[in-house]
Amino acid sequence: MNISNDSEFKAALSFLSGTNRRRVAAHFSENVLSLSKDARIKGAIDAAKRADITPAELAAAYQTARAASVESYTRCGRECNWNDQASHFVAEAGVACVQPDKPGANPAWDAAMQARMARTCETIATGRGTDNAEAAAQYRILAEFLNS
């Protein structure tokens, strides 16, 4: 299957089952994991990949990921370090992977958006402008997942 734009991307994501949504979310997050130095995020991502995870373990992973996310916000008035901010969005992507189920929410889409913000922050940090290929990378990741 070929995904070439966000409408197709969103549609494909909506057909995934709950467990698969988390697994795809984990893949999206992994793609930007190098932008974060926080080991807790990897923990969250690994948890999301497991099909046999219990609700209690998911809740614990969520707590840990939330802590990582809250600690990495840029505080109001402080100078923004875009690399650190990228790390924050990776944490947010990790949070999305293990967030509690909410009607209407798709962890895969949320994680995808947060991962894109992480990449955007990295792009700003390196001064490469605003374009980045994260969306395209995510289409590939999803297509590979669906084909497997």
Partner: protein
């Protein structure tokens, strides 16, 4: 800018007016202002008493504007205000004051203490006694255009991201649009969902809007540090942008001090009324709701409560709009024990969250919020200020409370009825 105590005292002399003279003459040392200030109530340290924070200003008033005080000064009987004293007062005037204004609300003789703190900061800043974090923020605001160093490319990157997220094009520099939307650096950096929410809501309401490349920043660090010249430059940027784009209304974002700066202090800073209206985003949304332009469906399931941002509600006058909007999407809404204008500050406003040395005190002061929120039994906390949001999240995390914090605009947008 060379700092000096002479400049500081000179500025303090300039800012003293009849209200300040009246306030100092009326204070009876009852200490009730301390009972309203979270920095005192949670730390128990009397030095955080609001009126005490003003001691240097009081002495300047006495020595410069009262007959007996001037007499005493000539005779060498008065205690002058010195560099050492101002340095000693720095943590009182900055670290332990968020300009929340609760003290001004309770003083039995009517003293507007927060107004005086704002004025004292002018003298503190010009004599070189403002915290480094704030000085940096103000400098970045003037030189770069944002206190946190956000430049236009970052804004454009966020626009692109939001376009992908929503499928809606984000307008930039559109002349003649009805609304010019401002954002705070906090939203640009931390909360792209705010812009996404605006895009969705404007589309549904059928309103024209635009961002402005020369004036996208709403936050006014000049107000926080207390340098009116800087505050003026920042407001002027917005005014120039709005007039160039010929917009009817400028929308102040979910940021507390941005609203007080632009809506209430702005015209006085630039010396003339605006040719456009300034509304907080919640006022705009409430207007849409009133006109039937806001169509929502579904309700938030969790028990919700609202944190009234100080600058928006008590100091800004946007008292009822948050509740009318929450009524659209909340089934189980509960007020805190001190709702509306009596709300307790999150502890991070007025520049406090930019001062690293103030973090420990801020987290101590947060206990008042912890108690307040626990008493509501709420499962979700809604607010309408990006800084409050982060400060609240940080405080809740610190006290191991698992209550998610969300923005009101984004909550409304999440419930917009999708077009068929």
């Amino acid at each position: 800018m060379s700092a000096s105590i002479e400049k500081g005292i000179s500025v303090l002399k300039e800012v003293i007016d009849a209200p300040i003279a009246s306030y100092f003459s009326s204070c009876v040392h009852c200490g009730l202002c301390a009972e309203a200030c979270l920095f005192y109530t949670e730390s128990g340290d009397p030095k955080y008493t609001p009126i005490h924070k003003l001691e240097p200003l009081r002495r300047v008033y006495k020595q410069e504007y009262t007959l007996l005080g001037r007499f005493a000064k000539i005779l060498g009987l008065s205690k002058p205000v010195t560099d050492e004293e101002l340095e000693e007062w720095k943590p009182l005037v900055y670290d332990s004051c968020t300009l929340c204004g609760r003290c001004s609300l309770v003083c039995p003789v009517g003293n507007d203490i927060v107004y005086m703190v704002r004025r004292l900061r002018e003298g503190m800043a010009i004599s070189g006694h403002a915290p480094e974090g704030l000085a940096g923020a103000s400098q970045r605001a003037v030189e770069i255009g944002s206190p946190m160093g956000v430049k236009l490319p970052a804004v454009k990157a966020q626009m692109k991201h939001v376009q992908a997220d929503t499928g809606i094009e984000i307008p930039l520099d559109v002349v003649g649009a009805e609304y010019m939307v401002l954002m705070s650096s906090m939203e640009i950096i931390n909360f792209p969902e705010y812009l996404a929410a605006i895009a969705r809501i404007m589309k549904q309401a059928g309103k024209t809007w635009t961002l402005c490349s020369e004036a996208f920043e709403a936050t006014n660090s000049g107000i926080q540090i207390g340098v009116s010249d800087i505050a003026r430059v920042l407001v002027q940027r917005i005014v120039d942008g709005a007039e160039k784009l010929k917009v009817k209304t400028v929308i102040s974002p979910e940021c507390g001090h941005a609203y007080t700066a632009l809506r209430w202090e702005g015209p006085n800073l630039i010396g003339r009324p605006y040719s456009f209206e300034v509304l907080h985003i919640l006022e705009v949304l409430d207007g849409f709701r009133n006109a039937g332009l806001l169509k929502t469906s579904g309700f938030e399931e969790a028990k919700l409560t609202f944190h009234d941002p100080c600058q928006l509600v008590r100091r800004g006058g946007v008292l009822e709009e948050p509740r009318r909007l929450l009524n659209l999407v909340a089934k189980d809404y509960v007020e805190t024990g001190d709702p509306g204008k009596m709300n307790w500050c999150c502890g991070g406003g007025g520049g406090v969250s930019a001062i690293e040395e103030a973090e420990e005190l801020r987290l101590t002061a947060f206990k008042v919020k912890k108690v307040q929120l626990e008493a509501t039994g709420a499962k979700t906390l809604v607010t309408a200020c990006a800084n409050c949001r982060i400060v609240l999240e940080e405080g809740l995390e610190h006290y191991k409370m698992d209550i998610p914090v969300v923005g009101l605009t984004e909550t409304i947008a999440a419930h917009l009825t999708a077009k068929e």
